[in-house]
């Protein structure tokens, strides 16, 4: 059958099972939009209000489903507006396929109207990208893009399509499979290393499971939970790994890293065996690398060989898919004679005693007085009221850390935030993507007065598609995270961290057609949250006026070791 490039585009999306697409039109993608217009019953296109919002929405969709998020934007400014989101997805290994329009082939390189070399611009922040130069390559390129985005270590893939290609016709057939000779991610871990890992595990006295985003991305929460319970070992998660293991479980010692718990960081510091699974030893986790885990051997499971021995020297590297490797580790463990949960628990009994001592520090305690709302308290209550079962998106800053510390995630894919790039503006559009993926679910957006203003225009998208997101604005009147650093390390010189001229968020929400609330008294927090939850079909913007100079504790200052935490 002969189809136009634009029709082929639609057919390919359908063949890939794409039901939702986030985008914004423009000259170079008019044919594509025309074809989508005629396929409205098959593919749901969500019109955002800024291309950055389209990419974050697609990320939210992907992070809450583990399916690739799909974006369509026009050439030039449409494409450059998408770059922040693409870089964000690259840092957090989010599977995305981003389509950009390009000027017609004959005009490429001529500084044509709305021409940018988006393939060149995004090269360092995509898993891969393509410029389609022949209509006969279009279908196979799209197939490759989806394959690359979701296989191996996931990531964003960009496909740049010149306008003339969307107009001309060719014979269409969608390839069933695709192979790329130079790309073959290792799924199965090396058996010998798996045996060595179990040997080390059975000899450890102070082991720590340190697991990350890879467990969530690799759909391996169940296997991880099984192995951890079988072993009876303590487990900590990175910011990106939260939900990979139930946070309310006794064996979970909290998040680790810069704003991790006292017990998690101290235990890492004292550990003799760190079992890293789908985590990449980020500097927010290790602090000063020279002081990191001075007594430990390392086992490291990761699908990306370049994550292994990048920041720390690893004793047992296992390259493979986390789900496969966890199953293999369990099998190997169960094959060992005389080894049971009871023996491995007994093996580390003194270690648990020690950890439970550290726990008594109760490093996340805070006092909620009658006068000023503590941000921690709002998150606590939100967790309580939603039964820990909401999808929680966040922006970037103090509120993000409080969300991570006080919302206890028991399930994977529930915690949606920007970790690697730390992109303010991520929260609201990401929440849109999540709500579209899970129309019936409770979706919260925990944000700050700074971050929310970076993609505030998406409130209009929420109106158009009736997305009942619960926006929790932890309004401290500051760029709080910046202010905290200035308080600690720049003698309280608050350079540009005061958010002057804040809008009236209640009126703002109302003007977009939503419900706005301002909550100023601690006594009103619970009632407001309950009221918002009861408004099931409405977006509710809750502006919580919180303590202005609150700080996130514990904190490991930059350059310090894990045992050098600031506690209050």
């Amino acid at each position: 059958m002969e189809l136009t490039g634009a029709e082929i585009f639609v057919e390919c999306l359908e063949a890939e099972g794409v039901d939702t697409l986030f985008g914004y039109p423009g000259g170079a993608v008019l044919f594509l939009y025309d074809a989508l217009y005629q396929a409205t019953d098959r593919i749901n296109h969500i019109l955002v209000r800024h291309e950055q919002g389209a990419v974050h929405a697609a990320e939210g969709y992907a992070k809450a489903t583990n399916k690739p998020g799909v974006v369509l934007v026009t050439s030039g400014p449409g494409a450059t507006n998408a770059v922040t989101g693409i870089a964000d997805a690259y840092m957090d290994s989010v599977p995305l396929v981003v389509f950009t329009g390009q000027v017609p082939r004959a005009m490429i390189g001529n500084d044509a109207f709305q021409e940018v070399d988006i393939v060149g611009i995004t090269r360092p922040c995509v898993k891969h990208n393509f410029l389609v130069t022949d209509i006969d390559d279009l279908a196979v390129t799209i197939k490759k893009a989806f394959y690359l985005a979701r296989s191996g270590r996931p990531g964003p893939v960009l496909v740049d399509i010149p306008k003339d290609i969307t107009q001309i016709r060719t014979e269409f057939s969608y390839p069933e499979t695709v192979s790329i000779r130079s790309y073959n991610p290792t799924v199965k871990g090396n058996k010998r290393q798996i045996r060595r890992a179990i040997d080390l595990i059975l000899a450890a006295e102070k082991p720590m499971l340190y697991t990350g985003g890879g467990v969530v991305l690799g759909d391996a929460a169940e296997e991880l939970t099984q192995l951890t319970r079988d072993l009876g070992f303590p487990i900590t998660n990175t910011l990106m790994g939260l939900g990979g293991y139930p946070a309310t479980d006794e064996q979970f010692v909290g998040m680790l890293g810069m704003h991790g718990t006292y017990e998690a960081n101290t235990a890492m510091h004292e550990s003799d065996l760190v079992i890293a699974i789908g985590a990449r030893f980020d500097d927010r986790v290790t602090g000063n690398i020279d002081k990191f885990c001075p007594h430990a051997k390392f086992i490291h499971v990761d699908i990306d060989p370049s994550s292994i021995s990048k920041n720390v020297h690893v004793d047992v590297p296992i390259v493979g898919d986390v789900k496969w490797v966890l199953k293999a580790l369990l099998e190997e463990l169960r094959s060992r004679d005389g080894v049971t949960g009871a023996t491995t628990r007994a093996q580390i009994a003194p270690w648990w005693q020690q950890i439970n001592e550290w726990r008594k520090m109760d490093c996340l305690k805070y006092d909620q007085d009658d006068d000023t709302i503590r941000a921690q308290y709002v998150v606590d209550k939100f967790w309580e009221i939603t039964g820990g079962d909401a999808y929680v998106c966040s922006d970037v800053g103090q509120h993000q850390m409080w969300a991570a510390q006080y919302y206890k995630f028991d399930k994977p894919l529930r915690w949606i935030n920007s970790g690697g790039l730390g992109t303010m503006g991520f929260g609201l559009p990401a929440a849109m993507g999540v709500q579209i993926a899970h129309p019936e679910a409770t979706v919260g957006c925990i944000t700050g007065d700074g971050s929310i203003q970076m993609c505030i225009q998406e409130l209009a998208t929420c109106t158009q598609y009736q997305l009942p997101i619960k926006v929790i604005n932890l309004n401290n009147g500051y760029l709080g995270m910046v202010r905290q650093w200035q308080e600690f390390f720049y003698q309280k010189r608050y350079a540009m961290s005061y958010m002057d001229a804040l809008p009236d968020f209640v009126k703002l929400a109302e003007s977009y057609g939503h419900i706005g609330m301002r909550i100023e008294k601690p006594g009103d927090v619970e009632g407001a949250l309950k009221e918002a939850m009861a408004l099931q079909n409405r977006l509710v913007f809750m502006d919580f006026i919180t303590k202005q100079e609150g700080n996130v504790y514990p904190m490991i200052p930059a350059g310090a070791g894990q045992n050098e935490m600031i506690l209050v």
Partner: protein, 173 residues
């Protein structure tokens, strides 16, 4: 101990087979600049298989850095295969074209003598200049250039190193 030790940097010649596609080369060079790796030289040309180019890259780094470089190169979708020649007995060659001013008395003779010693060839002659072509290990080529530097050297063109493993080891699909 978790941290990576830093030992002295070693020179590595890395041969790479890469898809012969536009943009592939800039992915390699972009990787080096983005991650702060050093490139001493880089040569590239098509191979007998039209779908592949062969790239020879010379870099320096300690073992950990070289390990990362190789992993990061592998991670580029268009890199099909590579070989770190430092792990093999190998031969390394570089070509140099050099133009010298021979107007000074006796200059012609000394250029001819040096060409002889270094097995270089004189490939162009004018009333004012001689142009030489020399091939050999980078150090030999440098030594020739050094010897020529008594004369006014007008222009030097070096190809950068190429390498191949000795014996039956080879980089092919």
């Amino acid at each position: 101990m978790g941290n990576l030790s830093s030992e002295t940097a070693k020179r590595h010649v890395i041969s790479i087979l890469i898809e012969n596609e536009s943009g592939a080369l800039s992915r390699v060079s972009g990787l080096f600049s983005a991650r702060g790796y050093n490139i001493e030289s880089l040569t590239v040309a098509p191979t007998e298989d039209g779908s592949l180019s062969r790239l020879t890259l010379v870099t320096r780094g300690n073992d950990e850095i070289i390990e990362q470089i190789i992993k990061q190169l592998h991670k580029l979708i268009e890199v099909v295969k590579l070989m770190d020649l430092a792990e093999y007995a190998h031969i390394e060659r570089e070509m140099m074209l050099v133009k010298v001013d021979v107007q000074k008395k006796g200059a012609c003779e000394s250029v001819k003598r040096l060409a002889d010693i270094f097995r270089a060839r004189i490939i162009d002659v004018s009333d004012k200049t001689y142009t030489l072509e020399a091939t050999g290990h980078r150090e030999k080529v440098s030594a020739l250039l050094n010897a020529l530097s008594e004369l006014p050297v007008i222009e030097v063109v070096r190809s950068g190193s190429m390498g191949i493993a000795r014996g039956s080891s080879s980089l092919r699909l």
